[in-house]
């Protein structure tokens, strides 16, 4: 296209409205290697000791590696549950004949559009009755289940796009429907599995409210809880630079995954349920 407009005013406006994000994230990054006196705008000196929490367990962050491992286990469990259940459920919904199929499918779509945060009080009661309250297994099951309508819906979409001739050919050659799904169809939807898996992992990695409310005194601390503790100004040994550094440490894996898989994730963010 021709340039019948000058781009500088547009860039200027964009920069202006992006300023809060740019400033916040630059300061976040700067704060990890410098210290800033209270009341100053610019950092005064280099300070790498903000990173001491990595090997020093006496800071407010405690033992960061255990929390990191916990978060990894937490996010990975959610990812595994969401992937297996959505991969099987999505296939059944896409290709197999089920009683009340139409009804179930509309139900899943309503649940997908439905904001699951409103269910937290009901979920709290369910966990109380089943004895899963204050256990990490309970939180993992809840988080994974709340993502399921989305996961099944996405996987159904991917299965729908697989040409049914592939399936037909497999069945003609005498394979069972299960073998056809396992050996022929699953490899076809690998892109969907990767995208959904990454999304589930990132969502689990950043989760805060569910562990905070449904497992408040559990020893299985995830990074979001640790970060909230470190960032609480009411603490006696409050250190905001430490908060920034732990925050960057916490977000780095997310950024790495995002940079490498940006295109796969972009399709799925459009269907996300956040804000």
């Amino acid at each position: 296209m021709t340039r019948n407009f000058s781009i500088w005013p547009v860039v200027l406006i964009l920069l202006l409205i992006s300023a809060p994000i740019v400033i916040m994230y630059s300061y976040l990054a700067l704060g990890t290697v410098t210290t800033t006196e209270p009341g100053d705008l610019l950092p005064s000196k280099l300070a790498l000791d903000n990173w001491r929490f990595l090997f020093d367990t006496s800071t407010a962050a405690g033992n960061i590696w255990i929390a990191t491992l916990n978060t990894f286990v937490f996010a990975a469990s959610i990812m595994v549950i969401v992937l297996t259940v959505s991969a099987t459920g999505g296939y059944a919904m896409s290709r197999l004949n089920l009683p009340f199929r139409r009804f179930v499918l509309s139900g899943i779509m309503v649940m997908h559009a439905f904001p699951s945060v409103t269910l937290i009080i009901g979920v709290f009661l369910v966990l109380q009755f089943t004895g899963l309250y204050d256990t990490m297994i309970g939180v993992i099951l809840v988080k994974a289940s709340l993502m399921l309508p989305f996961g099944i819906w996405i996987m159904k979409g991917f299965y729908d796009a697989v040409p049914w001739e592939i399936e037909m050919a497999g069945v003609q050659d005498g394979a069972s429907r299960f073998t056809v799904w396992r050996r022929l169809i699953l490899p076809q939807v690998r892109a969907g599995l990767v995208a959904l898996g990454l999304f589930a992992f990132l969502d689990g990695w950043g989760e805060y409210v569910l562990p905070r409310i449904l497992a408040p005194t559990n020893d299985f601390r995830v990074l979001s809880i640790v970060l909230e503790l470190v960032g609480n100004p009411d603490r006696t040994n409050y250190d905001f630079d430490l908060f920034k550094t732990v925050g960057v440490f916490y977000t780095l894996p997310v950024l790495v995954i995002f940079v490498f898989f940006q295109h796969r994730l972009m399709d799925i963010f459009g269907g996300g349920t956040k804000g």
Partner: protein, 437 residues
């Protein structure tokens, strides 16, 4: 042709159905059921006991219960039994004295203080001081006051024993008032509609959803999508990534960064101070600034949703239309106004409806930033329901009332999602599977 049910299909779908039933359907049902109870952290969740407390008797007496009944309930009696002796031993009463009590009075009961006291004064090894004697009497007290009765039957017998000939009315009142567990009630909804805070919170919610949606999710989303579309590819990509950052950052980090940005010696306050503008805690200092921050915190996440969706829709507009308009001498603004916007009608409608629902029910960001303050000026419905039921500093959590508030949200959410599904003709997506044996 009706094809038969696939056994494999049932097997494959069952884990999903099970999890959805437990963690989606049951919670929705329980929200509905328990919104009709007065369940709270003081009643407990699994049921309660019957306890008659002095405070309860005072309240009942004020409400006109027979003074005779009240007196009878308040009065203590004494009986010398194994329980009482064990309690007395635990309370360090002189063992010799206790042995005498056991030998002389085991199994007897005394209706009043003075009777029991007189009986004890007959014993040779009684304590000299009257105060010690009273202390020794205490473990033998039999009273309905402050005793936990596990079932209604136990409470009924105990009360009937103390108050001979209590009327059925009074018994019923006593039993229902002394129950500490939760009971069925419709009071929650009455409370909600009577409270003046309710209307204010509803007004807050409408203001919050409408402003965030129009300013950020739709307008800013559109602006970002259109500008990054026209900018050179690399430059556009930079802004896309910048605006995706809030979405991919974990919510705790994002919220506390905003706190830092706006608090007393945070960036905005310091900058404003250096420029000679009023410098204060912008997040909590004034209602206007608090609302601005709340809307920005949510809007900066929401804008990227619109941006992604509109960008996708923009790229699917045939580029020839834009070329043709340029040949005719259209400016960029005319292109946007007459070619792009009309073709984005459906995505705009989709973003509007989808984000209405998600803004209506979002509370995480507000909870972690202003927490509804200053006062309750930025409290929205979802946040209030969450705080009522699950999280507040006083620690008295009202599950029933919170569930009633959530139920209204669930109802609105369900209604809107069904309307949207009709609106966007998702029905076409639920057609029969092609291949079936």
């Amino acid at each position: 042709m009706r094809s038969r049910t696939s056994g494999l299909g049932l097997l494959l779908i069952s884990p999903a159905m099970l999890l959805l039933a437990i963690f989606f359907f049951t919670p929705a049902l329980l929200t509905g059921v328990f919104s009709f109870t007065n369940m709270s952290s003081s009643t407990g969740i699994s049921g309660g006991a019957y306890v008659v407390t002095p405070n309860l008797l005072k309240a009942l007496s004020a409400r006109g219960m027979q003074p005779a009944t009240i007196e009878a309930l308040e009065e203590a009696s004494y009986s010398v039994d194994a329980d009482g002796l064990a309690a007395a031993r635990a309370a360090d009463v002189d063992p010799a004295f206790l042995d005498e009590i056991e030998a002389r009075y085991a199994g007897r009961a005394y209706a009043t203080d003075s009777d029991f006291l007189a009986a004890l004064k007959d014993l040779p090894s009684r304590p000299r001081r009257i105060r010690d004697l009273k202390l020794a009497m205490e473990p033998f007290t039999k009273s309905v006051l402050n005793v936990r009765f596990a079932t209604e039957e136990l409470a009924r017998t105990a009360i009937a024993e103390r108050v001979a000939g209590i009327s059925d009315d009074e018994m019923a009142t006593l039993l229902s008032e002394s129950y500490t567990g939760w009971v069925w009630t419709t009071e929650n909804f009455g409370k909600l509609f009577a409270g003046h805070e309710t209307w204010r919170i509803i007004a807050n919610t409408i203001f919050y959803v409408a402003t965030t949606l129009t300013l950020f999710n739709v307008t800013l989303g559109l602006f970002l999508a259109v500008t990054t579309f026209y900018l050179p590819k690399k430059l556009g990509a930079i802004f896309t990534v910048i605006w995706l950052l809030p979405r991919i950052t974990p919510v705790v980090l994002y919220a506390i960064m905003w706190k830092w940005f706006t608090w007393d010696d945070g960036f905005v306050a310091v900058l404003a101070g250096e420029l000679g503008l009023p410098s204060f805690n912008y997040m909590k200092g004034s209602v206007t600034s608090a609302w601005t921050i709340v809307i920005m915190v949510n809007g900066f996440i929401g804008a990227s949703f619109g941006m992604i969706l509109f960008s996708g829709a923009l790229r699917s507009i045939p580029i020839q239309q834009l070329w043709a308009s340029e040949v005719d001498g259209a400016t960029r603004w005319q292109q946007v106004r007459y070619i792009i916007l009309p073709q984005l009608r459906w995505p705009i409608l989709f973003v509007t409806s989808y984000q209405t629902l998600s803004l209506l029910t979002s509370y995480q960001e507000i909870w972690l930033t202003t927490n509804g303050g200053p006062g309750s000026t930025t409290t929205v419905w979802a946040l209030e329901s969450f705080r009522t039921a699950l999280f507040n500093y006083s620690g008295s959590l009202q599950y029933g009332l919170g569930a009633a508030m959530a139920l209204l949200l669930v109802a609105v959410g369900l209604m809107l999602s069904i309307i949207y599904l009709r609106l966007f003709r998702f029905g076409e997506l639920v057609t029969q599977p092609k291949i079936e044996f």
